[in-house]
Amino acid sequence: MIIRFFVLSIVLSIIVSATAQDATSYELLKDDSILKKQYFDISMKKKEQLLRSVGKEYAKDYKEIYELQFTEIGKLWSSSRPITSTTTNNYLQSIVKKIIDVNPELQGNDARIVFSRDWWPNAVSMGDGSIVINAGLVTGMDNEAEIVFVICHELAHYYLEHTQNSIRKVVTQQNSEEFKKEVKRLSKEQYRVNEQYNKLFNSISFDSRRHSRENEAEADRFAFHFLKNTGYSADAINTCLIKLDRIDDSLLTAPLYLERVFNFTSYPFNNKWVKEESSIFSGINKSESTLTKEEKDSLKTHPECSKRMEWLADSITKISGQGKNFLVDSVYFNSIRKDFALEIMEQCYRDENLSRNLYFAIEYLNRHPDNPVAVYNIGRALNDLYMLQRDHKMGYTIDPEKRTYSPEYNRLLKMLVKIRLSELGDLAYYFIRQYDPVMKGYPGYQDLLVTAIENRRNKE
């Protein structure tokens, strides 16, 4: 009997250690700090050049805008947002090279293009050559060609100097005699002042957004031109635009199955945490707005995707079926899409947005059961939330429920708000402990467990 038990325990320990070997830590992409510093320095040099180039006319206004612009750029390069790991960056630069090499207009162009860890699906040309393609956009795309269209679009903005032109336009407009005269007149008015101010600023705002939409259309035309020469499929422009059109509706919508993820034998899920309550104006549709259709259209910076597709339709049709979806590395493209989901998760944590960190981690865990990175992220977020709530600071790290968010995300937010401190401590403990067999070898796991135990002990 003793021997039998001994053998059994050896077998069990082998199984446990075999499982524990699965809990290898996902190595977050290691950034190239020298490259980031180099990009930062280039941006700051550009700032100096721009400031030096400002003439006497409206110098103060230009300086103010450039300061704002380059503060944002400086923040980007100093943050953990850009993904500059050698392999990933080399991959991106290989794609960029495919574009530059075949477009003489772009040769000599000093654009610095990076992927970022930002979760929201967007790409931006910051005006000085810094171009950022968010991880949240990459994970929503299906091939290199779609990403190439996005890069070409942002390169076109830079090539066409849209940012600098817009700055010039705004400064000139706000220094026009007509504008100054109107502001002076309003400062002396006694009645309907806000109404008139609103009209004045709306006219400028509408005009600047119209201008922005024109820029977008122009950038699309140039992007088509750049992409056409690369050998990538121009049909990807359509598939990319279709995805962009729907991307907002699919944000944070994946089901989280909270009742399953946070249900333990010794500590069952409490439906009270997610119970719906009566709310003011519950019948108002989230898309309802007091703006007229014209006002809504005027406030958009981008034209509708359907319109963008329509404008490029003839050009695309001519070369449809030609070109490829991948020219650099389809395998690596698919692997970064998976890696980026984890990078996004981690970045939300670094940005101290624990509700999004938790959302992405739970969502990832549901797709990849027992994934140690997701388990670690959930456990860490729950422990952190416990300590923040203990100090009445949780509100600074979670989003409030909003009607514009998906019901799934709002459900998680409701739970975080409703759960009591002691319950949160229990939840963190039972969640972390449940993954003991899987997580034993995972770096930092033991610390998570110890913290959860400490938190529970302290509440008693």
Binding site: Q190, Y191, R192, V193, N194, E195, K272, K275, E277, S278, S279, I280, F281, S282, G283, I284, E288, T290, Q389, R390, H392, M394, G395, Y396, T397, I398, D399, P400, E401, K402, R403, V417, K418, R420, L421, S422
Partner: protein, 513 residues
């Protein structure tokens, strides 16, 4: 109206912060306290409203914006309208489906009750014209209530709202009950005028088609010993269904609150000797009366201080608790398990050094007796209303100096004056969630210990959650010129801070533990 606490004047922008459980109002000059307040459904906070002048149209007309936010301060709707410059918002309430706002036009002397549906659209408007006498009475009562302990609008789930406002009928000082329907345009009004010269009414609740009210009738303006009644009105018509004295053949009782449990109406309160003056005399203990729809007593339970509460507290038959004083009952709450909690605060009369010195010097002005506010107390009763436990929650004592002459008044009367006239208790409010599985008793206190990391005011909570009671404290001292803790959704508070130098009002929501 202008006298009522002109502190802040909200003007322009209300912009959600990054994590948006916060607000920031720029260009703040001054404002009427009532023009920014919580929207409640019963004791639960469902949102906030901010009412401000957004533009001046002409000499007599303003453009107003009524901004309505959810519990997280996220704007749900902005209602803009033009009206006379004499308009303000006094109060709001939510009945699970619809919203009501009470607008007051000072010049026109009118109340306008506007109701809004779940779709955000205006439903019905109800008006009440006020006489000059009524304005004077309101100025002395409702408008003068800077602490906003007096609330006049109560929700009836999905059906409408009950309004309870002071009123004048000829020479009588009375009150007016209105029902405003939100399902169709329908209203009824009830004003008591018979059997007295002065009437005070408290809305207790609505159940099975009956609106229950506690009514005190005074034979004249100088009468100090009112008769107490429970009044039942037909919810559909406002007609009187019954009016019964609050006494049996042994005791007289004073209703404090009403709870509906399994469709039955229970009135909770304190009881007194049969001929006692319920305003002035000390109570004998707690009473629990079940009433039917005709106002008849179905069951009753009386718990005396010495015989029943004495098992848990060192207490005299008149309710004096050792090292605590007398208990002022702020609220009684019944939770889902059936247990009832009486929430109270201690007070006792002590000699006033300042008053004695002032009188010795012939200066007067301050009474030789002052009231010392002591600790908080929770008394627990089981579902059959037997005393189950009692616990005193210590806090710092808080002395209240009294005006000369008031020192002769009885303790209970002084306690009522402290509650309604001086705002001297540290208790702030109690919030109960809809399914009655949780409640929080909130109160202010301070830390003066030099050795502690923090010195200054604190906001505290005793929270009940599924049978467990926990305590929490939030430090409220900051760099702000002034701050105020407002109610937020169950288990949370909204801290509003005013930065005078920056003309900025900021608020953030904190969760209680």
């Amino acid at each position: 109206m202008k006298k009522t606490s002109i502190i802040l004047f909200l003007l322009m922008v209300l912009s959600p912060g990054l994590f948006a459980q916060s607000i920031s109002l720029e260009n703040v000059r001054s404002a009427n306290l009532r023009n920014a307040d919580v929207i409640r459904e019963g004791s639960e906070v469902k949102g906030y409203y901010f009412f401000y002048v957004s533009d001046k149209i002409d000499k007599r007309t303003n453009e107003y914006t009524l901004k309505i936010t959810d519990q997280n301060l996220i704007t749900l709707k902005e209602i803009k309208f033009q009206d006379s410059r004499d308009v303000s918002v006094l109060e709001s309430a939510f009945n699970g489906t619809d919203l009501i706002f009470l607008f007051y036009n000072e010049k026109e002397r009118t109340f306008e009750y506007q109701t809004y549906g779940a779709d955000g659209k205006k439903k019905f408007t109800y008006n009440r014209e006020l006489s000059k006498k009524e304005i004077k009475l309101l100025e002395a009562t409702y408008f003068a209530d800077e602490e906003q302990t007096y609330k006049g609008l109560y929700p009836i789930d999905g059906e409408g709202f009950i309004s309870n406002m002071p009123s004048r009928e000829d020479k009588d000082y009375t009150f007016q009950i209105d029902f405003f329907s939100t399902t169709k345009k329908k209203q009824w009004t009830y004003i008591p005028t018979s059997g007295g010269k002065r009437f005070l009414g408290d809305y207790l609740g609505t159940n099975n088609g009956v609106v229950f009210l506690e009514v005190l009738k005074f034979s004249g303006t100088m009468d100090q010993k009112p008769d107490s009644y429970i009044l039942g009105l037909n919810k559909e018509t406002g007609k009187v269904l019954f009016e019964n004295p609050t006494e049996n053949n042994k005791y007289r009782f004073y209703p404090g609150s009403m709870n509906v449990v399994n469709g039955k109406s229970y009135i909770f309160g304190e009881f007194f000797e049969l001929n006692a003056n319920i305003l002035k005399d000390k109570s004998l203990g707690f009473s629990f009366i079940q009433l039917d729809e005709k106002g008849k007593t179905v069951s009753e339970k009386f718990n005396s201080w010495d015989l029943d509460l004495g098992k848990f507290l060192d207490v005299s038959s008149k309710g004096r608790i050792a090292d605590f004083g007398y208990m002022y009952v702020h609220q009684m709450v019944q939770v889902a398990s059936g247990d009832v909690y009486a929430i109270g605060e201690g007070y006792r009369k002590v000699a006033s050094g300042l008053g004695i010195a002032a009188q010795a010097l012939g200066a007067g002005g301050v009474a030789a007796i002052k009231i010392r506010i002591t600790d908080l107390i929770l008394i627990q009763f089981d579902k059959d209303f037997n005393v189950k436990g009692a616990k005193v929650y210590p806090k710092n004592d808080n002395p209240i100096e009294l005006p000369q002459g008031m020192g002769l008044a009885s303790g209970p009367l002084l306690a009522k004056a402290i509650k309604y006239n001086f705002g001297g208790f540290d208790y702030a409010y109690t919030q109960v969630n809809n399914d009655r599985t949780a409640f929080s008793v909130c109160y202010t206190d301070y830390i003066k210990d030099k050795e502690k990391d923090y010195k200054g005011r604190t906001f505290n909570a005793i929270s009940y959650n599924d049978g467990k009671i926990t305590q929490d404290m939030i430090t409220t001292k900051s760099k702000a010129s002034s701050s105020r803790v407002m109610q937020a959704a169950q288990g949370k508070v909204l801290i509003i801070e005013y930065f005078k130098k920056d003309k900025k009002l900021e608020g953030h929501i904190e969760k209680l533990n």
